[in-house]
Amino acid sequence: MNTRRTAAGRIGLFIGVALMAIWSFFPIYWMVVSSLRPERDLFSAPTLIPKTFDRELASYHNLLWLTDYWQQFLNSLMVAGVVVAVSLVMSIIISYVISRYRVPGKSLIIGGMLYAYMFPPMLLAIPLLAIFARWQLADNLVGVIVAHCTMTIPLGVWLLWGFFKAMPMHLEEAAMVDGCTRVSAFFRVVLPLSLPGIVTVAIFSFLLSWTDYVFAFVLVSSDSLKTLPVGLASILGSFDARWGELMAGATLITLPLLIMFSLLSRYFIQGLAAGAVKG
């Protein structure tokens, strides 16, 4: 990282970062602000900084106490957590073996994984439901977990494969000469070095699962098993979804993510930085 910067460079950096921040954050700002204004004021001319503020937080009150928000939140969290764990384990195994061993039909395997993305999820979800029903998993979050893994594992394999490919083999080979098996060499040498990639895959898997609507909608029926996106969509589908409540619902889905993310971002950034130290 260069530490010396010209004045022009510094200004340029400042402008660039400011623009990036505004671009990324403004719609979210507007969403949160709109949810905090009294319903009636949403019909008058909007101002950048709201003139009024709904002290009662009516929109939130309605959403939190009159819907299944908490249950849906826990469901989404549980599903996403398991998806991350399973995807990581399977992606790491698959991509590592492919990058280090001579595997027949490697292109077919890797290419085959991409088929998960080639079809509209709705067309895949219903046959998946039929398969799960045969295993008595019809109205079950396990089905959702498995379906999400079919989305996250191909991504994980592709990303990690890239990471492992770029990693020279001599480090592991040195460890193996010392008597480690391939597997322990992996844990001792490769894993720490590929942490940025692994953290990245973990985050993407979590998000793919957290924000999925189609699979969660098709594979689960009971109200108590619904996830957050499905819950929000049914608010949308009802006749009286008004902007205030919609914005509140959107904020409620986003808020836990923001909180979790800001708590975990330290680890995420450490993960990214760990690679730099090695360099």
């Binding site: 990058s99 061993y101 993305y117 979800a125 079919t150």
Partner: protein, 295 residues
Amino acid sequence: MQSFKTASDRRLLVVFVVCVGATLVLILGPALYAIQLSLYEAKTFVSPRTWVGLDNYARIIVDPAFWQALGTGLVFSISAIVLQVVLGIAFALLLNQAFPGRALMRGVAILPYLLPTVVIAITAQWLLDGSLGLWTHWAQDIGFGRPHWFENPVSAMTIVVLASVWTWTPFVAVCFLAALQTVPASLYEAARVDGAGAIMRFFHITLPMVAPMLLVVILLRSIWMFNKFDIVWLLTKGGPLNATEHLPILAYRKAFLQFDLGGGATVATLSFMLLSILLAIYFHFVPLDEKEARA
């Protein structure tokens, strides 16, 4: 590249096969089912099916709606990908610099990617609401009158592209940023000592080192953008007058709304075949086994 010699290796092989097998079965099973559906005429999933062979294909290939949807899809995905990659690289480069508050900025830059598509669609519609939207009012204040954001085909497509770019640029940025971390600082130092400016360093050191990751990202984003259904559907439902209807929307409408499940499956299969061709071209230029050839 080695072969599976030791016992530990073979145990690993077993686990590998199980993982790959499970994943492929769950992915390919439904995919094959969808392809099979395209050979039948069926109104819905629960209606009786009649075998028609390739009749659906004959019918759809001569339908101008199919080709228009294909063109729309290409316009949408190519514009979205180009913008995502360019912006993503720019963001990653910015976030790679040291400046106060960088950790916070990294969080902020990722925010769009955290949101479920439905949230993004709602917020976009709220900002662009014909009477109450903030941006509608700004456009009026600037003097554009009240824009018909979603009634103009070009503007509708622009909105859909920009919404996609806003949402998924962080994906590119994060991958690129992670890849940047693997470039040894020593290389930059050496180049700077040799007198190379920032731009030269980017094109001669950064890009080549992160090229593999970048190519993978572009590949994945291309497939995803081509098949992106939610954001377009939620924003415009393919309107106005089919201006933003691409192949996934066409497939969905046929299969789930127009009682033409076979036709929808056919559109999906044709789309998938097209993507496979593009994939094959990709693999021709970026072979999977390059490392093996060298080793």
